[in-house]
C-alpha cells in the first residue's frame, strides 16, 4: 500500500510502578489510510497506549514514533480529544474560549489572531454547534461538550485525530451525523479512536487494535465473536446494533449473540 506510517511502535514495554507491566511486548503500526479503533477492557492499557503515543509518558523499553518523529516532537501534529469528565466543569469558559485553545502557540506567548478565530468558527460550524459559541461550557449537555472538545481537536488542524471515547456521551441524534463526519474527516487526516464500547466497531473502522496488556491488530472484517472474547478474556454478550431504527423496532432488530455458555 502507498500509505504513510503515522504510528510505529516497536518492542515496547511499559509499567506504571516498575513492577507489573501494563503493556508488554507491543508492536503496532498505523497507516494514514486506515481508520483505527483501539478497544479493550477498562484497565487493559488503552489510555496508557494513548499517553505513550502523545509522549505524556515514556516507555520503559522500545520506541514510539509518530510521523517518523518522537512523540514530544510530533505532538503538535496530533489533535487530541480527552474525556471531558477529566475537566473542571465549573471553570468559567465559554465554547469559543475552549475551541480557541486548539490554536495555542508554541512557547510562552499567547494571543489569538483573526485567522485563529476564523478557524475556530469553521470547526464549530463543522461540528454543527456554531450557535453554541457564546454559551458557557458548564451549561452544555454531555453530548454538546463532547462535540466542543472534538471541535477543539480539529482546531489544531492536525494530521492525526486522536479521540478518547468519542461516543461515550454523544446523543443518539448526533451519532449517525458523527459517523458521517468521521467519513469526511478521514479523507483529510488519519483518525484513531479509543473506545471501550465494542459496538463502535462499526463498518467505518478498517482496523481494530485490541489492548489488554498485549496488543493484537485485526482487520475489522476479521472480527468474530470468538476473537472478541479472546481479547476480553471472559465470555461476554454482544449486541449487534443496526442504526437508523426507530425505538419501537429496536427490540426486534437486536440480535443477541451469546458467546458460549454463561458461567453462572
Amino acid at each position: 500500500m502507498g500509505c504513510r506510517e503515522v504510528v510505529k511502535i516497536e518492542n515496547l514495554n511499559f509499567s506504571w510502578d516498575n513492577s507489573v507491566l501494563s503493556l508488554e511486548d507491543v508492536f503496532l503500526t498505523i497507516h494514514d489510510c486506515e481508520m483505527v479503533c483501539i478497544v479493550g477492557p477498562n484497565g487493559g492499557g488503552k489510555t496508557t497506549l494513548l499517553y505513550l503515543m502523545l509522549g505524556l509518558i515514556k516507555p520503559n523499553s522500545g520506541t514510539v514514533k509518530i510521523l517518523n518523529e518522537f512523540p514530544d516532537k510530533a505532538r503538535r501534529r496530533i489533535g487530541y480529544m480527552p474525556q471531558y469528565l477529566k475537566l473542571d466543569l465549573q471553570f468559567p469558559v465559554n465554547v469559543m474560549d475552549v475551541v480557541l485553545m486548539g490554536r495555542l502557540r508554541h512557547g510562552f506567548w499567547g494571543r489569538y489572531s483573526r485567522a485563529d478565530r476564523e478557524i475556530a468558527e469553521r470547526v464549530l460550524d463543522e461540528m454543527s454547534i456554531a450557535e453554541l459559541a457564546r454559551r458557557p461550557f458548564a451549561e452544555l449537555s454531555g453530548g454538546q461538550r463532547q462535540r466542543v472538545l472534538i471541535a477543539r481537536a480539529l482546531a489544531c488542524e492536525p494530521e492525526i485525530l486522536l479521540l478518547d471515547e468519542p461516543t461515550a456521551n454523544i446523543d443518539p441524534g448526533f451519532q449517525e451525523q458523527f459517523y458521517e463526519k468521521l467519513r469526511e474527516l478521514r479523507k483529510r487526516m488519519s483518525v484513531v479512536i479509543v473506545s471501550h464500547d465494542i459496538g463502535f466497531v462499526s463498518s467505518e473502522i478498517d482496523t481494530v487494535v485490541c489492548v489488554n496488556r498485549h496488543v493484537a491488530v485485526h482487520k475489522s472484517s476479521e472480527m468474530t465473536p470468538e476473537a472478541i472474547s479472546d481479547i476480553y478474556g471472559h465470555r461476554i454478550k454482544m449486541i449487534d446494533h443496526q442504526h437508523d431504527l426507530t425505538p419501537q423496532h429496536l427490540k426486534q432488530h437486536h440480535k443477541l449473540h451469546h458467546i458460549g455458555e454463561r458461567d453462572d
Binding site: 503538535r76 480527552p82 471553570f91 468559567p92 474560549d97 495555542l104 510562552f108
Partner: protein
C-alpha cells in the same frame, strides 16, 4: 462626609489617603489573581504563602537590627518569603509524590513559626499585630509606591499571557500537548499569587488577606461564566470592599482590616442566599407550569 473627604487631603492623615490608593490600585491585581485562585482551586496555597510572609517580615526586622542594615524594609523580606514558599509548594506538587495538602499545611505553620522566632529574637517592641491584621496608621508613601511596582509586575504578564494561563488552568494536559510550557506557566502563576498577597499586607494584614483574594472572585463567579469578566467584576468588588471598609473604619473608629474582611464575607453570604432563593422560585414556577399543564 465632607469632613471625611477633607481628611483624605489633610497632610496629618496622609496614611488614610495612601491606604485608599493602595486599596484601589491593589484591587486590580486582586481581581485578576483572585479569579485564578478561585477557579483553579488553590486558595490553600494562597493561605500558606500569605502566612509565610511573617517569616520574611521577622527575618528582615531581625537582620536589620543585628547587622544595622537600615535599608532592609520588612516588605523585601515579605517578597522573598512569599516567592520562596510559592516556589517550594509548586515544586513539591510537580515533582514529588508527597501529599500536596500536607505540604501546604506544613509550610503554612512552619512559615509562621519561623517569623515568630525571628521576632522573639529581636530586642525591643515589635508590633506583630500590625503585620498580622494590617494597620493603616503605619501606611506610608513608600508602601504605596511598592504596591504600584508589584501591581505592574502582576498585571502586565497576566494580560500578555492571559490565554496561556487560562488554558493551563482549564486543561493542563491539552495545553502541554499544544507545546505550552505548562510547568513554567503554573509556576509563574504561583509567583504572581505570592506577589499579590504581599501587595496589600500593609492594609489588610497577612491573615485576613485570604478574604480579599477569594471572596470578590467567589461573588463574581455567580454573575458571570467567563474568565475575564469575572476578573473585572471581582476587581471592582475588591475596590468596593476595601474603600467601604476603610470608610466605615474611619466613621466607626474600628480597625479597618476586619471591617474589610467582614464586608466581603457579608457580600458573599448575601450572594449565595439571593441566588439560592432565585433558584427556588424558578423551580417552583416551573413546577406550577407542569402542574397546570
Amino acid at each position: 462626609m465632607i469632613d471625611f473627604f477633607s481628611s483624605l487631603n489633610s497632610p496629618a492623615l496622609s496614611f488614610l489617603k495612601y491606604a485608599f490608593l493602595i486599596g484601589i490600585f491593589g484591587s486590580v491585581s486582586f481581581g485578576i489573581i483572585g479569579t485564578y485562585i478561585v477557579t483553579k482551586r488553590i486558595a490553600s496555597i494562597a493561605g500558606a504563602v500569605s502566612h509565610c510572609i511573617l517569616a520574611g517580615i521577622g527575618a528582615a526586622i531581625f537582620f536589620r537590627q543585628q547587622f544595622g542594615l537600615a535599608w532592609l524594609h520588612p516588605i523585601y523580606g515579605s517578597v522573598v518569603a512569599a516567592l520562596l514558599s510559592a516556589i517550594i509548594i509548586g515544586l513539591v506538587s510537580m515533582y514529588t509524590k508527597q501529599r500536596e495538602d500536607t505540604v501546604i499545611g506544613a509550610i503554612w505553620a512552619v512559615g509562621m513559626a519561623t517569623g515568630l522566632l525571628f521576632l522573639a529574637g529581636t530586642t525591643g517592641y515589635v508590633d506583630i499585630d500590625a503585620y498580622l491584621f494590617g494597620n493603616i496608621l503605619l501606611v506610608s508613601r513608600d508602601d504605596f509606591i511598592m504596591t504600584l511596582v508589584l501591581n505592574l509586575i502582576v498585571i502586565v504578564p497576566s494580560l500578555l499571557f492571559f490565554n496561556n494561563f487560562m488554558a493551563v488552568c482549564f486543561d493542563e494536559q491539552f495545553a502541554e500537548l499544544r507545546g505550552l510550557r505548562t510547568k513554567l506557566t503554573y509556576m509563574s502563576l504561583l509567583c504572581m499569587v505570592a506577589l499579590t498577597v504581599v501587595l496589600m499586607v500593609s492594609v489588610i494584614g497577612i491573615i485576613l488577606v485570604l478574604a480579599l483574594l477569594t471572596l470578590p472572585a467567589a461573588v463574581a463567579g455567580h454573575f458571570t461564566k467567563r474568565l475575564w469578566p469575572m476578573m473585572v467584576l471581582s476587581a471592582i468588588l475588591c475596590a468596593i470592599f476595601t474603600t467601604g471598609g476603610l470608610t466605615m473604619s474611619y466613621h466607626a473608629n474600628l480597625p479597618s482590616a476586619p471591617l474589610i474582611a467582614a464586608l466581603a464575607g457579608a457580600a458573599y453570604l448575601m450572594t449565595i442566599i439571593v441566588f439560592a432563593v432565585i433558584r427556588r422560585i424558578k423551580q417552583r414556577s416551573n413546577n406550577l407550569k407542569t402542574v397546570s399543564k
